[in-house]
């Protein structure tokens, strides 16, 4: 993020403005990725009119960065109608797609509508590995073809690579492919639980040695010595730190109109079918609670040597049962990075039976979760 963008984010935080929103248009998808956290059935997606009205509300509320995602966004027949409306409301638009339905005509439209960038997931440069993850034969070839089309139109493309046991050795190949295609490359070493709380897909996560290998790779992390430096522990300033932008300057809206702090933080905070977006953003008790939490309020993390430098995701902590608690997956990353265990890992080792993951009763039946919102 540029210095100016950081400055704008700080100003948005002061003014309580939702600078950035991810809007999922649908959970339907033409791929069936083994690590996907979504239920692909349609439980009553917002209509074209509802989405256009929401875009108007979001623009009026000050949303600047709009990520349109899914599911597969092109599964919506009204996708370009929605995109055109988003363009009229002058959002900075990023699309997340697998690209399979992007042919020349679609690439032309995306270019004409001034999309800032398109993110496409590539799991491996080896067709057999990628296609086994997406469960769609030929999907790697089709996604690569889409990237070539978009690049030929001068559209910025980011290749996202999720690391898991099936593709643990392939990230360098994907990074090379990104270079060849003129695309940016980002890698995420974390498979997250499903939005309904099901944690079964976490067994796809790579082990500590594979994580350590990633963190020692200067092509991915830059200065390895700096990246893996032992943490200093949080000082007084760090204890006032906010966890991340979720709920502070960013939020997520599902295809059913449910508002959450982030796509990885499934705390139902309101529904745009029952309340105005700006009212939810300003008055939701759930978002207010998220905003109230600083590092000082986290019993384990505030005492942890990694407290100030950890990548702790409050959504993952929430999915473990406590939004003020640690996110064990991030504790494991901090350990792989520095070789120093977090307070949470030490406590778990000392007393493993007392660290059962709580059931996430908050998101049982996610799509039908009734959130009583004042007003």
């Amino acid at each position: 993020m540029s210095g100016l963008a950081v400055e704008m984010a700080a100003k948005a935080l002061r003014l309580n403005i939702p600078l950035s929103v991810q809007l999922d248009l649908t959970y339907r998808c033409n791929e069936r990725c083994i690590h996907c956290y979504l239920d692909h059935d349609d439980h009553g997606e917002m209509t074209t009119g509802e989405i256009k009205d929401l875009l108007d509300q979001m623009a009026d509320a000050g949303v600047f960065y709009l990520t349109i995602s899914g599911g597969e966004i092109m599964m919506r027949r009204d996708f370009f109608d929605i995109l055109e409306h988003a363009r009229k409301r002058t959002f900075c638009i990023k699309l997340k797609t697998n690209g399979i339905l992007i042919r020349r005509k679609e690439a032309d439209r995306i270019k004409a509508l001034g999309v800032e960038s398109v993110q496409i997931s590539i799991y491996s440069h080896i067709p057999k590995v990628h296609d086994a993850i997406t469960k769609l034969p030929g999907s790697l070839a089709q996604s690569i073809e889409a990237i070539r089309r978009l690049r030929a139109h001068g559209i910025r493309v980011t290749i996202a690579n999720v690391l898991m046991t099936q593709n643990a050795r392939d990230y360098a190949g994907v990074q090379g492919l990104a270079g060849e295609l003129g695309a940016q490359f980002i890698m995420d070493p974390t498979v997250t639980p499903k939005m309904d709380g099901d944690r079964s897909i976490l067994n796809l996560n790579v082990d500590e040695s594979a994580l350590r290998e990633v963190f020692q790779n200067s092509a991915l992390v830059g200065n390895v010595e700096e990246f893996c430096a032992p943490p200093q522990g949080p000082d007084e300033d760090a204890l006032e730190m906010l966890p991340c932008s979720a709920g502070h300057t960013a939020c997520y809206v599902s295809p059913y109109g449910d508002v959450y702090p982030c796509v990885q933080f499934p705390l139902p905070s309101g529904n745009v079918r029952r309340a105005k977006f700006a009212d939810i953003w300003r008055d939701s008790p759930q978002l207010k609670e998220v905003r109230s939490i600083t590092l000082r309020d986290m019993p384990s993390c505030s005492k942890c040597t990694h407290g100030a430098t950890c990548t702790r995701c409050p959504g993952l902590a929430f999915m473990e049962g406590n939004m003020r608690g640690p996110s064990s997956q991030d504790c494991e990353k901090s350990y792989a990075r520095t070789g120093i265990p977090s307070e949470n890992l030490k406590a778990r080792k000392a007393s493993p039976q007392s660290f059962q993951i709580q059931e996430l009763v908050q998101i049982q039946g996610l799509q039908r979760a009734a959130v009583n919102f004042p007003g």
């Binding site: 100016l4 100003k11 403005i17 949303v63 600047f64 009229k88 900075c92 638009i93 001034g114």
Partner: protein, 106 residues
Amino acid sequence: MNAKRYLSRSAAIAARGLGNEMMVMSATNSTLFTLDEVATVIWEALDGATPLEEIVAKNICTQYEITPEVALKDAEVFVEQLAEHGLLLLSEQPNAQSTSAPRGNS
């Protein structure tokens, strides 16, 4: 600048008000700009149909303590900078299809 100039915002931009400023991003190269309060007033008034001189006279000189000559000179520098970055389109003819700027959180 002798001939009248009409200015409209490029279609390939993202823009949003943030407090008394305006964030503007070029979709062609993702460069982010911020406009201060006075520049934002001009930006919001650019409709492709009103000459810059008129915008400055109506929207700036009535609101801020500045002479029309100085205000117009500053405004010309400002719009030419934005045009260089592809954020504005300059024309010597009014653009009939121009619209007003959606601002957000105003």
